[in-house]
Amino acid sequence: MKKGRFGEYGGQYIPETLMNAVKELDEAYEHYKNDPEFIKELDDLYKNYAGRPSLLYYAEKMTKDLGGAKIYLKREDLNHTGSHKINNVLGQILLAKKMGKTRVIAETGAGQHGVATATGAALMGMECEIFMGKLDTERQALNVYRMELLGAKVHPVSSGTGTLKDAVNETMREWTKRMDDTLYVLGSVMGPHPFPTIVRDFQKVISKEIKEQIMDKEGRLPDAVLACVGGGSNAMGAFYEFIPDKSVRLIGCEAAGLGADTPKTAATIATGSTGIFHGMKSLFCQDKYGQIAPVYSISAGLDYPGIGPEHAMLHDTGRAEYVPITDDEAVNAFEYLSKTEGIIPAIESSHAVAHAMKLAPTMSKDQIIVINISGRGDKDVAAIARYKGVNLYD
């Protein structure tokens, strides 16, 4: 396979102005990924700052209630900053520091990647600017304040649909203005090479830990691993080490919004086609003229019209399956896990919980499902209350 390609997908479709910047990043990463000191420092940050390894929790009540497969939850929500995003951010910010950069910029959807980046920047003493769709700054206002509290500058992006894709556009534009001292800390397994590979490598710690933990607890591999998919970083992290283990089903749960058969959806695999956007060849929601579709999901983190190129390949080869989950199903799962296990999952992760609720009863009691709880749901409480018609402030 050509470097930076996943089958036909991937590549580096970006303006010439950025080419030397991505090459510099690629060279730095190729060097530091094998550097014992870099590995040791990152490992130390994972253990002593982020709180890794995250727990693999047996959800006994949920298992009994659904009456089928045994359910384990990978608790990425317990990481520092409350989601899996910190895994990638610590890696990329440490890399930025080694490269001599003093400023980081990032896009964010739900705000989780922005919060993680602002956190890493505060820790490493770096300047930090976050680009966030205007609509998302409204539905995730708490995270905007968190980023500011951490010392970052947040730029609301009002172009286009004012969501994640527009935030990516604006961060790319900002990077073309200033590269010398600045690294774009991309938050998902997407964008031009080397980002899909770098982000996957920093997230694969999730599947590495799941494997060790499940072998320890059950002495066998799981039958299925479920994760939500927007750009696809938590899913890539949860799937990666299981790709060679053909007995493990890998299931990505996409945001169907009001339904994959309606225009109000963000289910890229279900409704998209091959295109080239945001630096990569992959699958995108678009019209016949290649205009990117204004996608929709209740979840700001999954509200993205594309998917990482490695997922597109895993879909083509059939190694992973992708299912659409609606807003209603996700909200139902959000409430279910809160009440059943006392764990409030992010609305993004709730898409994976929702599919587990359908899948588990169809499986036998000696089978095992692992759900990646990619983030915690505190940030979503106000939005879910609004969705349910509850007015929190009167």
């Binding site: 580096q12 303006p15 102005t17 556009n169």
Partner: protein, 256 residues
């Protein structure tokens, strides 16, 4: 039919950009004639894209207006087919890789040839990925214009050696848009281009005033102006033709 090389036979070339279909197709048609008559040596028509990552706010907003008004790739092909036989100014398309890829690369280039488009500028298709389009471009004789940037340095020779039509020198970091000052050492870039190729070299990004155009053209074979024209179209809409004409005349005069 006029070729890209013809654009550089009349002294320093003035290359004007408009967003196709902004505010509507009829105005674009008028602007093509007007710009040609007022001294534009080459015209770039932007096929609007929903997410133009190399553009500043002026062209972003123009793209949004054009798409909202119903502009499509097919409507622009029809327009060029109608206008190009009457124009002695060569026309190129500027758009992003996705509208070309999704339309069908082969179909896109064959339509370009059919309607008289001479070249295409694709800002998110760098040297490393140009094979995405070169087979189809070569088959239909459409020049794929190469861009070089202030950050290109050692890449300039490699890019210029394989360049077709003309080399598009990006004057500044960042996205398209009017700038009060351009600080890049342009002659260092164009010198490297000239050592590597005989094809002409034009400078774009940030140029808006006749003074800037004059200064920039000293180191190149032409200047490219986009946002400044699109701004006039944004201000005067359907009645922008005479204002654009006046502007194009002043710019061509400044570099002559």
């Amino acid at each position: 039919m006029t070729k890209i090389s013809d654009a550089f036979k009349n002294g320093k070339a003035f290359i004007g950009f408009i967003t196709g279909g902004d505010p509507d197709i009829e105005t674009t048609e008028k602007l093509l004639y007007t710009m040609s008559e007022s001294g534009a040596d080459l015209i770039e028509i932007g096929i609007p894209f929903s997410d133009p990552i190399a553009e500043g706010p002026v062209i972003q907003e123009a793209s949004e207006r054009a798409l909202a008004a119903g502009c499509t790739t097919d409507k622009l092909f029809d327009l060029v087919a109608k206008v190009s036989p009457n124009l002695d100014t060569p026309i190129v398309f500027m758009t992003y890789i996705n509208p070309i890829y999704t339309y069908g690369k082969e179909k896109f280039m064959s339509k370009c040839k059919e309607c008289g488009i001479q070249g295409i500028i694709v800002p998110d298709l760098p040297y490393e990925e140009k094979d995405e389009l070169t087979p189809e471009c070569n088959k239909y004789g459409i020049d794929l214009i190469s861009l070089i940037a202030p950050t290109s340095h050692e890449r300039i020779t490699m890019i210029a050696k394989e360049a077709k039509g003309f080399v598009y020198c990006v004057s500044s970091l960042g996205v398209t848009g009017v700038r009060s000052e351009i600080t890049t050492d342009i002659s260092a870039m164009t010198d490297l281009v000239r050592k590597a190729t005989d094809i002409p070299c034009a400078i774009g990004f940030g140029i808006s005033t006749p003074e800037q155009a004059k200064k920039m053209s000293a180191d190149a074979d032409g200047v490219i102006v986009g946002s400044a024209i699109v701004k006039i179209v944004a201000q005067y809409g359907k009645d922008s033709a005479e204002h654009v004409a006046e502007y194009v005349r002043s710019m061509k005069e400044a570099i002559s």
